[in-house]
């Protein structure tokens, strides 16, 4: 007889977080994304507390934290009754079903992807967290394997990792990518059409499909990028509501818990949210850095011995530099900032350009670009013909009339450019810690970090697709114009 095992604690925690998301944002797709992103932080805090309370407490603490977040979102949000509407109760049931089915199917068919040493480290850490026998990591492993994914996986049953969890992140990332289109256009038909076009591409591209089960943080990074890009679009268009701001902070908290180098990978988003909020909402602008630093320090100060740079102090120095840097940036913008600085894309592109110069000087750029080209166009990175598709779509979109406001589209593209360059810069640090005199940022093969991390930038593909397809269906169609800039000057909606 086959026993069907569903992880009750994980399922219940996710359902509560989804309900909290529904109460906060009212949309099922973004609520799903929020539930998964919040689960990153909830399980991380649960594991940190288990260092005091004992390993048996991890699941209970995760449940308590999830229920607290649900209560908090119901108390804070004016339209809390929305959760109990029939439609949303149906979404709650559907979400619970998806979470359960993912676990059952993965277990029944023994589906897994832990063949790489990264995955080995992660599931070994998870098992150690669960058993209370964790040995603090040091060196490159501490830098690269991070904390939140092993923490989440430590919620598995009886020494297992959490079966069927990664596909939930993969699905959330796809849905959140479609959600960006809805945020940018306000047009449901456009959002559905673009998602429908993206899905066959995403599922048939081996380099992307692998992230369905791959035991790594890439699909989580894709999800967070999609969520933050959606909120960045909203911030540029009309300003963030309180619920949106909480969504941004939840995402940045997850970034802090995930991996140390993700502070740099997502620094482009941090920079953007500081730019557009420093003058009107300095506390929120500072909070975007603060939550990342606190989350990072939470685990680097407890489960890490030392880092490849600055030794035992590295865990503290870098986050504190980020905190001080964020504070200085907010001060500069408040003191000297103007609309040109905070509402245009050029600060993002200038910073990206500066970082690109550093990357060119510090890394073996030509060899890396050759490897990258082989990965992208000659099959080694398992991208098939998808990069050709991206180039065709992006090129063709320039022959179509502009749909989105130019300033907003450029700002979002600027975030993308800065994110890419900062990631390449982090690869320089990666190579430098390995003792290479002129490190590269790419090597041939799917296993190359950059090749796997490219999935992070999938959400940016919606920008050329929106322009290429335009908008159709007059109802709900929003052609964003220069008014998007003016809207930001209006008071920020609270609630």
């Amino acid at each position: 007889m086959t026993v069907v095992s569903i992880n009750f604690e994980v399922t219940a925690a996710l359902v509560m977080l989804f309900a909290a998301g529904l109460a906060m944002s009212s949309g099922p797709i973004i609520a799903y994304a929020h539930a998964l992103v919040a689960f990153v932080s909830v399980s991380s805090v649960a594991v940190l507390l288990s260092l005091i309370l004992g390993p048996d407490a991890i699941g209970h603490v995760a449940l308590i934290l999830s229920s607290l977040l649900l209560v908090l979102s119901l108390v804070l949000h004016h339209s809390r009754g929305i959760v109990f509407r029939v439609r949303n109760l149906a979404f709650l049931g559907l979400f619970g079903l998806v979470v359960s089915v993912s676990q059952v199917v993965a277990r029944q068919f023994g589906l897994s992807s832990v063949a790489f040493t990264d995955g080995h480290t992660i599931i070994q850490m998870a098992e150690a967290f669960q058993a209370g026998s964790y040995e603090p990591l040091g060196g490159v492993k501490a830098l690269k394997r991070g904390f939140a994914l092993p923490a989440m996986q430590s919620l598995g049953l009886n020494g297992e990792y959490v079966v069927g969890l990664m596909p939930l992140f993969f699905l959330a990332a796809i849905l959140a990518t479609g959600w960006i289109v809805w945020v940018l256009t306000g047009n449901r038909k456009t959002a559905v059409a673009i998602t429908a076009i993206l899905v066959p591409i995403l599922l048939t591209t081996e380099a992307l499909a692998r992230h369905t089960f791959l035991m790594n943080t890439h699909s989580i990074a894709w999800l967070i990028t999609a969520v933050l890009l959606g909120y960045a679009a909203r911030a540029a268009k009309e300003g963030l509501s309180r619920a949106d701001s909480i969504g941004v902070l939840i995402s940045f908290t997850a970034v802090g818990f995930l991996r140390f180098d993700y502070l740099l990978l997502f620094a482009g988003f941090t920079f953007f949210f500081i730019l557009v909020n420093a003058r009107s909402r300095p506390v929120f602008a500072l909070s975007t850095v603060f939550v990342q630093v606190i989350a990072t320090l939470g685990w680097t100060s407890t489960v890490v011995i030392d880092f490849p740079f600055f030794g035992p102090l590295g865990a503290f120095i870098v986050p504190l530099v980020a905190m001080v840097g964020g504070g200085v940036l907010v001060w500069i913008i408040r003191r000297y900032g103007n609309d040109l600085m905070t509402q245009k894309a050029y600060p993002l592109f200038v910073t990206a350009g500066g970082a690109a110069v550093l990357v060119i000087v510090l890394t073996n750029t030509s060899a890396s670009l050759k490897s990258l080209g082989i990965n992208l166009f000659f099959g080694e990175g398992l991208w098939g013909f998808t990069v050709v598709f991206v180039i065709l779509v992006t090129g063709a979109s320039y022959f179509r009339p502009r749909v989105l406001d130019k300033a907003i589209a450029r700002q979002l593209a600027g975030i993308g450019a800065l994110t890419v360059v900062l990631y390449l810069f982090s690869k320089y640090g990666d190579g430098a810690t390995s003792g290479s005199s002129l490190p590269g940022f790419s090597r041939v093969g799917f296993g190359d970090s950059l090749n796997r991390t490219l999935v992070t930038w999938v959400p940016f593909l919606v920008l050329p697709l929106i322009r290429l397809l335009g908008l159709w269906g007059s109802k709900g169609t929003v052609k964003v114009s220069a008014s998007g800039l003016n809207k930001r000057e209006k008071p920020i909606p609270q609630g």
Partner: protein, 176 residues
């Protein structure tokens, strides 16, 4: 009208690219199926992810035929044979026999068949050549899918041309 035309054309392009992608790469590395345990303590020592050998062999190829990310990365990693030993276990790698150049044993027809196998059925990876790190070689991994998870499956690592190495199970190439 143009919007619908754009949608139709982009959809067709997406479907074409999707179809082409499906035929582009062998997809055995996407995930492992029928894994009997989800515990790290069972998976890692028993190498339960071994259903897709490509997963094991493909990712870790480094310069000079070394294996990346084993021990101290700065030390240069492991040799090609040690790489196989690390992933497959000491007892699974037999290097006692002298290397054989298949080009001297096989005729042109057999070699052409192996080349075709490399092109159509193996998983190929462009890596620095084990015999000359300055040059690039194709390292192809191929196996009989019907033998997946078969106990005592034997593998042979060989070089079939100047720039092509082939790692196959013994149902494809057997040397007596």
């Amino acid at each position: 009208m143009r919007k619908w035309m754009s949608l139709a054309l982009t959809s067709v392009l997406a479907l074409l690219v999707g179809t082409a992608n499906m035929t582009f790469a062998i997809r055995d590395g996407t995930l492992t199926t029928a894994i009997p345990s989800f515990k790290a303590s069972a998976i890692i020592p028993n190498r339960l992810w071994m259903e897709a050998p490509m997963q094991v062999l493909h990712t870790f190829m480094g310069a000079n035929g070394s294996m990346l990310f084993v021990g101290q990365p700065a030390s240069g990693g492991l040799s090609f044979l040690d790489r196989l030993r690390f992933k497959l276990g000491d007892e699974q790698v037999d290097s006692s026999k002298s290397p054989i150049d298949l080009r001297r044993i096989f005729g042109d027809e057999d070699l052409a068949m192996l080349s075709e196998f490399v092109q159509t059925l193996s998983y190929r990876s462009l890596q620095p050549c084990p015999h000359n790190p300055a040059a690039d070689c194709v390292i192809a991994v191929g196996w009989n899918r019907e033998r997946t998870k078969e106990v005592d499956m034997r593998w042979l690592a060989t070089r079939i041309s100047e720039d092509t190495y082939l790692i196959v199970d013994d149902s494809i190439v057997r040397v007596e």
